[in-house]
Every structure is written in C-alpha cells, then in structure tokens.
Amino acid sequence: MITGIGVTAPGGVGTKAFWDLLTAGRTATRPISLFDATGFRSRIAAECDFVAEHAGLSVAEQARLDRVSQFAVACMREAMADSSLDFGAPPPERIGVVMGSAVGCTMRLEEQYVRVSDSGRNWLADATKGSPALYEYLVPSSIAAEVARRCGAAGPVTLISTGCTSGIDAIGHAAQLISEGSADVMIAGAADAPISPITSACFDAIKATSPNNDDPRHASRPFDNRRDGFVLAEGAAVLVLEEAEAARRRGADIYGEIRGFAARANAFHMTGLRPDGREMAEAIAVAMGRARVNADDIGYVNAHGSGTRQNDRHETSAVKRSLGGHAYRVPMSSIKSMVGHSLGAIGAIEIAACALVLRHQAIPPTANLEVPDPECDLDYVPLTARELGVDVVLSVASGFGGFQSAMILARPAAARR
C-alpha cells in the first residue's frame, strides 16, 4: 500500500507543485543553467528549482551529499511526513529501503575529477586534492545508505541500477520485499541528478537528446511527429509502502496498492528497440496476471513516452499487443513531455504520478502533442488534463540495456466506484 509520497521534480518542488504542473499541462524544460552548455548539441534540460535549505538539509549535509542524495533525502522526508506513520513504532529491522538511480553521484564525481586531474590534464589523479566523501560518490549505494540512516531502517537496504527502468524496478523490488515478509515498511523510490557536462556529452554523442535549443518549452514532444529526442532532466520521488493489513489497521490514508510488477529484457541492443514491442508487451501481460486484472480494467496508461521515434513506436506496439482493442480506448500519456526524462528517477516519479491519478481521479496530458505521428494512433491525452474515474493504472518503462518493466497500481477497494 502506498501511504506517503515525496516528489522533487522540475517545475516546482514537492508533491503538490508536481501535481499542479501535471494537471495544468505546463512544461518545465528550459535552457541548462546548472553548467555552461556552450558547445553542446543539446543545451536544454528540465531542472529542479531545489533549495537545499528549504528541504531541511544542514550545511554539513549540503557539503557532503551529492545533489542526487539531497533529492533523495528531501523526498524521503516529505514522504515520511505525508504518511503520518510513526517511524519509531515498527521495529527498525522491519523497515527497509530500496532506492533506484541510473547514474548515481555523477555530478560530484565529475566535479571532483576536474579537481584531482587538473581539468583533465593528468591521467594520474592527485589523491591529495579530493573530497573526503569521494568514495561515496564512486558507489551509488551511498544514496540508499543516506536515506536508510535518516529513516532508521535496519532491514533490507539496497539500490537498484537498471538504467532508465531503475525507478520502477526499485519500487517493484520494495513491494516484493513486503509481500514475501522481509519487511513491513519500505521507503522506495529513485533519484537522479545527471545534468552535468559528461552526461550531456554522452547523450549528445548518440544524438539521443533534443537539439531544439531555440524552443526549450516545446522540446519534449512524445508521440508528436516533430519530436527529435528526449530532454534530459533531474529529480526524485520516494514512496512509503506499508504492508496492507498494518496500513489499514492504523487507518492510514492510502493512495493505492501496487498490485503487480514484471520486468523483461529484449536481448537485442543496448540502445535500440525492435518496433514490435514484444518484450514490453510480455512484461505488461505478466504484471496484469500478477495483479489479476484484465485489459478492460485498466483506466490509464502512464507511458514511457521519452520522445524518441523508436521508443514511441515500440511502446505503442507493446500496448496494442498486450491490451488488444482496449489499447485504442484507454487514455495513455507521457509526463516526460512536462518534466523531461530524469533517467532512473523518472520511473519512480511516474509511479508517484500514478498514485496521484488514483487519488485525484484526473489524468495528466501529453504536453506539446500537436501533430501526431501517424504510426502512433492511440489516445495520448494531448495538451489538456482530464478528470476521469480511474481504478487501475498501468505504468511502463524502457531503458538502455534493453530492459522493459511494467507495474499495475489500483485504488484501495474502499474508494472504488
């Protein structure tokens, strides 16, 4: 059961600002301000207006923690407060943490590299010039450790790093730990803060990101025929998950339930996708089976919708293949059109959006979808949010390495129509 949500997303920090942005259909993509992007092919991103002091991070925490860990800790605190759960009540060994991140502490790793290598002049880095926290930046497990220490978890703690499916996979893993009895309460989510020269250069090199530098607000256009790549983003989302009976017993305010999760791989190409969407369809079908829902039960599909031609067609095929005729009736949208693609984090941000869809009974639109790709012929909820009764939602993710994941969430039974 999802009983708490914390979000740090572009366009406004906190869950409320996030939901306001989504339902208004506003976009948070803009010219990069986090570094001087002169000379880069893609100079736009979706950045968070994150103020560490406002998130309650001490001066020492700001100095030591990479931006990604700061996001994670801020979201954890918001989610814990939102859940109203007394984290001192369960035995610490029954509380666990699963965080996801695709690229970990890249910003500090790069910043420190510049320092110890004299801006790349020396292959032999200087051991005397680095931060005392340098090892924590090398290993992204530090993100999970920072969260675990602060929520008092002594149960299973880990980080999942499966590229762009990290966030959905982390939440799926956390739900599994509760259902198998390894924990009663899980802090689960994902964070990425990749807006740095090296990450931007990586995606420039394979032309994956949008070069639409002259019109950043309209650069992320999933399913639109004029799309030209994804817009790099940063952010985080953290959920509090509780064992169902315990959540009901304490009268928790429940957003929804994680009903089914499955992951598959295409074993095809590190970055390429076959247009038939077979493996994502298989993940969806298995997740539906685990959730014991039929295609007709699904009231909303949260698309991966990264805004690359191959993704949009792959995913459209996968949804048709798995949902049959219902694919043409069910609304499906991509929030990446508004908050960009924050790599591993976005999967968790999208699950947070799904929980808010169940709570508020409204569906965020696909912004910037003005000229539909004729190959993409489903209802992508262009431009404007819809109020709609929704009991069951599907969220999908697709990433480098060929990983495909799907999750089914449902409204708590008591709230259903």
């Binding site: 970990g104 497990s141 703690v157 980080l159």
Partner: protein
C-alpha cells in the same frame, strides 16, 4: 512448495587464477594474487598494492566489436558468464523464452572507460566523447551486455550495495527462480584499478598502506591496517533445482537461505545488524547455527569492522565454535565481485571437503574470539557454508549454501 535454487555453473576470474580449478588450486596452496599496480604509475599513491589479473585476454572470450564498447569490468563479466554457462552445460537457446534472467551485482562500474572519456571531455571538448560512453560507464552495462549476448529475455536486475551487492544479487536470483525463472545468470565483477577510481577508494580510509603483498591484508589480525582492492569476480549460474536435475546437470550446491540488514548510524541507540541478519538467514534456510560447518567472513581488515564481525559470529555461534576463513586475503577486496567469489570458494570447499586458509594472518586481535583457519588448508566434512558480506555505509548480507542432496 516453491522451487529450490541450485548453483550449477561457475565462472571465476580472480587475481590468483582464471577459471574455477586454477583459482581453487592457487587458493588451497596459498598463492597470492596481490602485487604492485602496474597498469598505471601508482608510485605516487599511498596504497600501491592490489589483486591484479595480469593474464586476462578479453579477445579469448569477447568479440572484438564488443571489446570496443565495454569497460574491462564488463569484459570480465562477459568472460565469466561464458565460462559459467559452459561449466553448467546450459545452452541459453534451449531455455524457454522469458525464463532466462540476468541478476548481477554492481558497484563502481566502468571506471577506466569512464575516466578516459571524461578526460577527453575536459581536455578537448564535449564533441570528443565517444558514442560508447553512454553504454559502457553506467552500472547496468554488464547486465545488459550479458542479456544481449546470450538472449536472456527474462527479468534482469542490478543490485548495488557495495561489497554486499553480490549476496543481494544471489538472493534476488533465488527469488527469481522461486517465482518465474528457470535459469539466472548471477554474481558480479569489478575493475577498480583506474587512477581516478583508486583515488576515490583512498578516500574510504579503509585501504592498507602496506608494501608487503603477503602482509598487506590481515583481517582479524592484531596488526590489521585495512584491505587492498582487487579486480575480477565470479558469475554463477543459478537454476531451478528440479529443471537442473531433469537435464542431468551437476548441482554444486543449493542456495538455502539469505537475509539483508543495515547498520544504524554510529552513535545510534540501536545495535549493529549483522548478528541478526545471520540469524534471519538461518531461519530462512530452516537450519540452526549447529548446522553451519564453515563461515566465509567479510573480513574488512579494518580493526573496528573486524571486531564487530567477530562479535556477530560469536553471538550467533558462540566463541571459537565454527571454522571461519577469508581466502580473499590472496586476492583483495573485489567489491561487487567479492561475495560471488566467496560463494564460489565456499561451493568448492564443500565439494572437496577442505577449508582454504586466511593467508598471512598471525595473532588475532583482542576481542576476535573466532576459530580463524590460518596457515594451511583444513580438511573437514562440509555440508553447509555461511557467507557474510558487508558493504561500505552499513549494508549487511548473509547467504547459506548447502551441498546438493
């Protein structure tokens, strides 16, 4: 009754031996794979020793086009996977579609590749960063490449909890076998010996500054002064035991129990979680401490960590009650590759009825009331082994393997 998870194949790449039998012979005879780092000029660093694999030729295992797209860490993983599948006699094409998964441990990922590209960026400009940086540097690169190379379309996962990741991955592989998979490629590798990665590791404050390869890594010893890093690891084939038996496969051992826990912040009122984590793993396996015949320790060789590990072992088993060993003193600490290598060593120890020694260690530190196997191998009837792994920052994991019936 859920499916049982059997280990049917192993591919070991260690500083003291490439291949299962070469590693095992070296380990039983106390041959140390730790030496001066020569891959780059390490003379300016306070720690210059590491477990180094000198005779690894990626071209023997990995097609040349893949070598260009991957860091050494992924080449190790691809090589160890090929060895492990061969050892298991598994033909990936014969495994039903969507039931072959890849669940690996990862820690610092594509260090040398990443450093080279980041250097190009800062010394020459963003347009000089190569196309493969986006697929070679990140933590899931090895897993994706293994999946593609062997047609694994089942669930893939990458667990990251520093040295504990390897046991977390094998625990997750067992979950996959129980719920949906027939075969899971699991384990992990590490290639931590680039100049920048070494500088990062130095910041942990846990590296030994000794210049003596035989005495630089002395866990539980009165003169313990940290560990040295090492490269390599092991890939294990975890298989549904019934399916393995049906195809007449050799079963090395069964993954019988697993648990993970996390240590509280120093100074917290809560106690460290390792003893409890071991107890939960025993309960998960349905066995008692008396059933455990040998313990493969995490063995950080950092005095406070050695004391807390020895105390946890004593709490669960009693003082000097079970043989404890740490053959990683011959190879260094392999991070994501470390625990899978320890599990492989435990499996071979069970197979041969012999406990490999913790090389180099002399007198135990005060407070370490454990029966540490030192000096030479110890013959013993072994059925069940406990492997302990702890990750930097507070991660704990425990895994039990038992001889096949």
């Amino acid at each position: 009754m859920s499916a049982r998870a059997a280990i049917t194949g192993m591919g070991i790449l260690a500083p003291n031996g490439i291949g299962n039998e070469a590693y095992w012979r070296a380990t039983l005879t106390g041959r140390c794979g730790i030496a001066e780092i020569t891959r780059f000029d390490a003379s300016g660093y306070p720690s210059r020793l590491a477990g180094v694999i000198n005779d690894f030729d990626p071209a023997s295992y990995v097609p040349s086009r893949l070598i260009a797209q991957t860091d050494l860490w992924s080449q190790f993983a691809l090589a160890a996977t090929a060895m492990a599948l061969d050892d298991a006699g598994v033909d990936p094409a014969s495994v039903p579609e969507f039931t072959l998964g890849v669940v690996t441990a990862s820690s610092s990922a594509g260090n040398e590749f990443g450093q080279r590209e980041i250097q190009k960026l800062w010394s020459r400009g963003p347009q000089f960063v190569g196309a493969y940086q986006s697929i070679a540097w990140f933590y899931a690169a090895s897993t994706g490449q293994i999946s593609i190379r062997h047609g694994a379309r089942g669930a893939c996962c990458v667990l990251v909890s520093e040295q504990a990741s390897g046991l977390d991955a094998l625990g997750q592989a067992r979950r996959a076998i129980r719920s949906e998979a027939q075969v899971v490629v699991s384990g992990g590798t590490e290639a931590p010996l680039s100049p920048y990665a070494l500088v990062c590791q130095l910041a942990s404050g846990q590296l030994s500054d000794s210049a003596d390869p035989e005495r630089c890594f002395l866990p539980f010893d009165a003169s313990a002064r940290g560990h040295v890093p090492g490269e390599g690891g092991a890939i294990l084939i975890v298989e549904d035991a019934a399916a393995a038996a049906a195809r007449g496969a050799r079963i090395y051992a069964e993954i019988l129990g697993y648990a993970a826990g996390f240590d509280p912040w120093p100074g917290s009122a809560h106690s460290p979680s390792l003893a409890r984590t071991i107890s939960v793993a025993l309960a998960d396996a349905g066995i008692t401490p008396r059933d455990v015949d040998v313990v493969f320790a995490d063995a950080a060789a950092v005095p406070a960590l050695d004391r807390s590990e020895a105390a946890a072992i004593e709490t669960v088993f009693g003082p000097h009650a079970v043989p404890v060993t740490a053959p990683k003193t011959m190879v260094g600490r392999l991070y994501a590759g470390g625990a899978p290598l320890d599990v492989a060593a435990a499996v071979l120890a069970i197979r041969d009825g012999v406990i490999p020694p913790t090389s180099g260690v002399g007198e135990l530190a005060d407070g370490c009331r454990i029966d540490l196997v030192r000096g030479v191998t110890r013959p013993a009837r072994l059925r069940t082994a406990l492997v302990i792994a702890r990750g930097f920052g507070g991660f704990n994991a425990a895994l039990l393997v038992r001889a096949a019936d």
